[in-house]
């Protein structure tokens, strides 16, 4: 079955990619399977300088989900381009760089840095990381700020830009429209919902950062709703994510309005999550009378 999808800057052999931050730079999971099987790889967030991230504990388990507050730990964009991108480029897959920052200038710096390499095919502009205190969060919840950073990054970069939206907003459609207007080539949604878990013996937050981002199957209904709502009003493509762990989940995201999907938390439970889903996808689509991934996209209620 034909699983191919074409998105701005990306021709994906299948619509499945690991989500940013849940797959490092691919090295660890390349010990489990051949990364060439993936539609694309979204790398861990890149910032201008090396970041050590938040104190530990950084994760906590919740019902059908988990909280994380890694705090964008990464070696900095230059070392990512020097050390990580070349290793990933050896695989027959697309590479998407996740761009983070605490200021407009940092976003622009990181985005333009990726102009240096031919091996990165698109940017995912992370305006929604809830674990950065310096201001990252405002970009993701204020439509005007989101517009500004999107325009600035579009101007600085010669790659297609997928803006990653935060679900922690009253009106997701407004955010999506704002970045579409600002020239985004696509959307990526959703990032994590801000949550908290307490450590009962102390009554204090279990995660050192106090709050963390909620991911996993628990948030899937919220992701589906937001993607569905946005798809009615916005026409740029959507990379969907939030709780995907089976091929049925992928179908639901495609039907809701996504054009490709990312798998995050599920990798932790099953290191083969992405390839298991890729393997199961043809039969799943067939069971529901679809002939290809593009067929699902073409046949959903509202056409893109």
């Amino acid at each position: 079955m034909n699983l191919e999808v074409k998105l701005p800057g990306l021709t994906l052999k299948n619509p499945i990619m690991p989500a940013s931050g849940c797959f490092g730079f691919g090295k660890e999971y390349s010990e489990f399977y051949d990364l060439s099987r993936l539609g694309a790889v979204i790398m861990k967030a890149a910032t201008q300088f090396e970041r050590f991230g938040n104190p530990t504990p950084r994760v906590a388990e919740t019902s059908s989900g988990m909280l994380n507050a890694i705090g964008l730990q990464n070696p900095g964009v230059e070392r990512i381009i020097a050390n990580e991108v070349p290793r990933l480029a050896a695989y027959d897959t697309s590479i998407i760089a996740n761009v983070a920052g605490s200021s407009l200038e940092e976003y622009v710096f990181v985005a333009s840095a990726f102009n240096q390499t031919k091996d990165v095919h698109a940017l995912e502009l992370n305006i929604s990381c809830p674990n950065v205190k310096e201001g990252g969060i405002q970009f993701g919840t204020d439509p005007e700020m989101a517009k500004r950073v999107t325009s600035a990054v579009k101007e600085a970069s010669n790659l297609p830009v997928y803006v990653k939206l935060s679900p922690n907003v009253t009106n997701i459609v407004e955010m999506a429209k704002a970045v579409e207007e600002a020239g985004a080539d696509g959307l990526s949604m959703i990032n994590t919902l801000t949550g908290m878990k307490l450590h009962l013996p102390t009554g204090k937050p279990l995660i050192a950062n106090q709050t963390g981002g909620l991911s996993g199957p628990a948030i899937k209904p919220i992701a589906i709703r937001m993607i569905y709502e946005v798809r009615q009003q916005v026409s740029i493509p959507i990379i969907g994510m939030g709780g995907i762990s089976t091929a049925e989940d992928v179908l639901e995201f495609l039907q809701a309005g996504a054009d490709a999907v990312a798998v995050g938390t599920a990798n932790f439970q099953n290191p083969f999550a992405c390839v298991d889903i890729i393997d199961a996808l043809p039969e799943t689509l067939m069971n529901y009378q679809y002939t290809s991934v593009q067929d699902v996209i073409d046949r959903r209620g509202v056409q893109v």
Partner: protein
């Protein structure tokens, strides 16, 4: 060779001390490859994250791997209810264990285990006992009801048992008997963080290796959940660089 997910068959499940379960699993590959200090990353149905549990013993002839765990929350509670014949989905052996290549013949080695940190120390003790070295083990437990593996240690090491409340063996913390154990060449330790802090402080001039714990996401080095600052102003990942580190290298 690519890493795998293993379906390990449960061979035996026993409660060997208060809230402490010993579980033997069948998996020849793992039983042959494991270095003491490495862990299994176990999937418990119904829970999002896998549970890291150290390997306590292997029997490479029978192809079995033994783990010991304390029932502390939902995951270990569910695991404790497993019956022989059922299978457990495991990744492993994960991480870097205790390197014993630099242990020389004739050395006197101090082993310090606390609570559920005792099992990997036992695995190490067994491995070291194959070398011509002298072993001293200090094992700390909350109280008498929690003590396990004392006899097994006695067979291969001069063994001191310490309980917090003095209900068995010496009273106090493992560090309280350090004055009695005499000189040693290197030490290896695993246990709760406060214990490891006390041990490394007390033994700050000695060569030693410690095994650490942290809450994990992936357990394979990809998610950065389990990092630990190092003295060179950098960091290490407990799940993949560790869980065993040189006591001098990390900041506890």
């Amino acid at each position: 060779m690519m890493k795998k997910r293993h379906e390990m068959e449960v061979i035996a499940v026993d409660t060997i001390a208060k809230e402490t379960i010993e579980m033997t699993l069948y998996q020849p590959e793992i039983s042959q490859q494991t270095v003491p200090g490495q862990f299994l990353h176990l999937l418990v149905p119904g829970f999002t994250l896998r549970r890291p549990i150290s390997i306590a013993k292997v029997n490479s002839e029978e192809g079995t791997v033994t783990i010991l765990f304390k029932v502390v929350g939902g995951g270990t509670k569910a695991l404790a209810a497993y019956q022989p014949g059922m299978t457990v989905d495991a990744l492993g052996p994960n991480g870097n264990g205790f390197q014993v290549d630099d242990v020389q013949e004739g050395e006197r080695i101090l082993l310090v285990g606390g609570g559920i940190g005792v099992p990997p120390i036992y695995h190490l003790a067994k491995r070291l006992s194959e070398k011509n070295v002298e072993l001293v083990a200090v094992l700390g437990f909350q109280s008498k009801d929690y003590v396990f593996y004392e006899e097994a240690f006695q067979k291969i090491a001069e063994t001191y048992v310490v309980t917090n409340d003095g209900s068995y063996g010496h009273q106090g913390f493992v560090t309280h008997v350090f004055s009695e154990v005499g000189a040693f060449d290197q030490y290896f330790s695993c246990g709760p963080l406060p214990m490891l802090r006390a041990v490394t402080t007390e033994l700050k001039d000695a060569a030693g290796k410690v095994s650490l714990e942290e809450r994990m996401g992936c357990g394979v080095g990809a998610c950065m959940a389990c990092v630990l600052p190092t003295v060179d102003n950098s960091y290490k990942k407990i799940c993949s660089d560790g869980p065993v580190f040189s006591a001098q290298e990390v900041i506890l």
